[in-house]
């Protein structure tokens, strides 16, 4: 379980997070929605320790992440980055098996490669992709490789940062479906940030809307459409008129 309370983070005068409270139950999939620049990525990066919050606490299974031993803590996480963030200096299989080739989870090279090929197959890629370099792959394939890398070490918690951005609607649908399947199959806790509503409906158990530095609305995805919150309604319907300013 991830328990975030009173999280604040400012970059100079720009107060991005102004008291975020959010609980994500183990084994559930929570999607955080919100406009561009509302701090969705900052929130994920705070949990991972990539960005240091100004105040507030983040607990993972009751343990404060700021106090946790970094390696053991990070070993519980997998993350799919928006642009894939694949290491372009190494072939695909080494990207996927990165964690298995070094550090505390190190395995023999042949075993790591086998696991990488298996994970690639899981995300719908054939073994011949394994020896290609990321630059040789299409955007959709890079996303799949990123997904394979995120799940390679069987993490307890997986973060997805805008998993469908830059993909065509069909490829976006395929990635959404894959994410849903994998999360269910692994029993992992998933946190996704997106502003793609089709993603929300495909992936989420629960939805949280971040606006104005706080969680504006939070609830099950089924209640999202009937919720009585003008901010949420405007966002879901993509309407230019409403309480959220169109020019930010």
């Amino acid at each position: 379980m991830i328990d975030i309370s009173a999280l604040h983070k400012a970059f100079g005068p720009n107060r991005v997070l102004q008291g975020v409270d959010l609980t994500v139950e183990s084994g559930t999939s929570t999607v955080i929605i919100g406009g561009s620049g509302t701090g969705k990525s900052v929130l994920l990066k705070c949990i991972l320790g990539l960005v240091k919050p100004d105040s507030g606490t983040i607990l993972l299974d009751g343990e404060d992440v700021a106090q946790a031993e970094r390696d053991a803590f990070l070993a519980k996480f997998g993350m799919l980055f928006q642009g894939g963030a694949l290491f372009d200096s190494m072939p695909v299989w080494q990207n996927v098996a990165f964690r298995l080739l070094r550090g505390s989870l190190k395995r023999p090279t042949t075993e790591a490669r086998e696991i990488a090929v298996e994970k690639l197959r899981r995300v719908g890629l054939t073994p011949d992709v394994a020896d290609k370099f990321p630059a040789e792959l299409s955007g959709g394939m890079q996303k799949r490789v990123g997904l394979a890398r995120a799940i390679a070490a069987e993490p307890q918690v997986i973060f997805f940062d805008e998993p469908t951005t830059g993909l065509d609607p069909i490829m976006a649908g395929v990635i959404n479906e894959l994410i849903r399947e994998i999360v269910v199959e692994m029993g992992a806790t998933a946190m996704t940030i997106t502003h793609d509503m089709s993603s929300v409906r495909a992936i989420a158990d629960r939805v949280a809307m971040l606006h104005g530095g706080v969680i504006r609305w939070e609830g099950p995805v089924a209640e999202m459409d009937s919720a009585d919150d003008p901010y949420l309604s405007q966002f879901i319907n993509g309407s230019p008129d409403g309480p959220i300013e169109a020019v930010r």
């Binding site: 991972l48 990539l50 997998g78 980055f81 963030a85 070094r102 989870l105």
Partner: protein, 260 residues
């Protein structure tokens, strides 16, 4: 207000300069700490030795060859004013080993390597690859910076040694083919007047310059701004700061080594 404006601007830029010196110093201190504590990445170190050392050989070799040749011509022209043309071999050797080998080698490597490191790490930063490294339980300082700085510090003295030999050979070529020196005498003079310390001091300078080059490349890459413009700026800053620091460090080291 208007009277104090120039003073305020001066103060601001002085403070900014001091702050960046402080940041580099903290970065270097962290680097040292990570260098001494595991995990280490020997494979990365080998790759960097190849990238930084081996692939810089042509650049450093050619620079040394032409510099040695030009130096021989200049010393011959200067020496002939007071009938001291015979000093050409020894002055070429001493000049190359003490100063020109390490400084020009360092500057050429700064252009090639500091730029490449800053551009690579800067691009990794911008495309979230550095964040990805962290989430994969790998410390970017240990995985990216330590191998590069170690590789440059270890290989630059070797590059300087090769450059010294090629530079002296450049002087020899010009001396024997254009200036009428007897080949055997030229070599004899070179060997007789060149002392071990002349060469060793140059190699020590090489190690210091290698450290500076990779440190600046990594520091500016890690602190790169967003987008192509940010990476471009980081690359420029890396080359400029590495070059200036090399020249400043060279002056300090020369003062330390050769004045009592």
């Amino acid at each position: 207000m208007t009277l104090t404006a120039p003073l305020a601007a001066l103060g601001r830029s002085t403070l900014a300069l001091l702050a960046s010196i402080g940041r580099v110093a903290i970065y270097a201190a962290q680097l040292m700490r990570h260098m001494l504590t595991p995990p280490w990445y020997p494979r990365e170190l080998l790759v960097q030795i190849l990238q930084i050392g081996w692939l810089s050989l042509p650049v450093v070799g050619l620079t040394a060859l032409f510099t040695g040749g030009a130096l021989a011509l200049q010393i011959y022209a200067g020496g002939s004013r007071f009938n001291a043309e015979t000093v050409v071999p020894s002055i070429v050797a001493i000049g190359i080993a003490r100063e020109l080998g390490p400084v020009l080698g360092g500057l050429m490597v700064a252009g090639r390597v500091a730029a490449a490191i800053a551009a690579e790490i800067g691009t990794m930063k911008v495309t979230e690859q550095i964040d990805a490294l962290v989430t994969l339980s790998t410390n970017p300082m240990k995985y990216l910076t330590v191998p590069r700085v170690l590789a440059a510090t270890l290989t630059l003295p070797i590059l300087v040694a090769v450059g010294d030999s090629i530079g002296i050979f450049g002087g020899y070529l010009v001396g024997t083919t254009r200036l009428g020196f007897n080949p055997a005498n030229y070599l004899h003079n070179t060997a007789d007047f060149l002392e071990t310390w002349d060469v060793v001091s140059g190699l020590i300078k090489g190690a210091v310059f290698g450290f500076i080059v990779a440190l600046m490349g990594c520091y500016h890459g890690m602190n790169s701004g967003r987008g192509a413009r940010g990476v471009g700026k980081a690359t420029t800053n890396a080359v400029v700061s590495a070059s200036i620091l090399i020249l400043a460090a060279n002056y300090l080291l020369t003062g330390l080594f050769f004045t009592s």
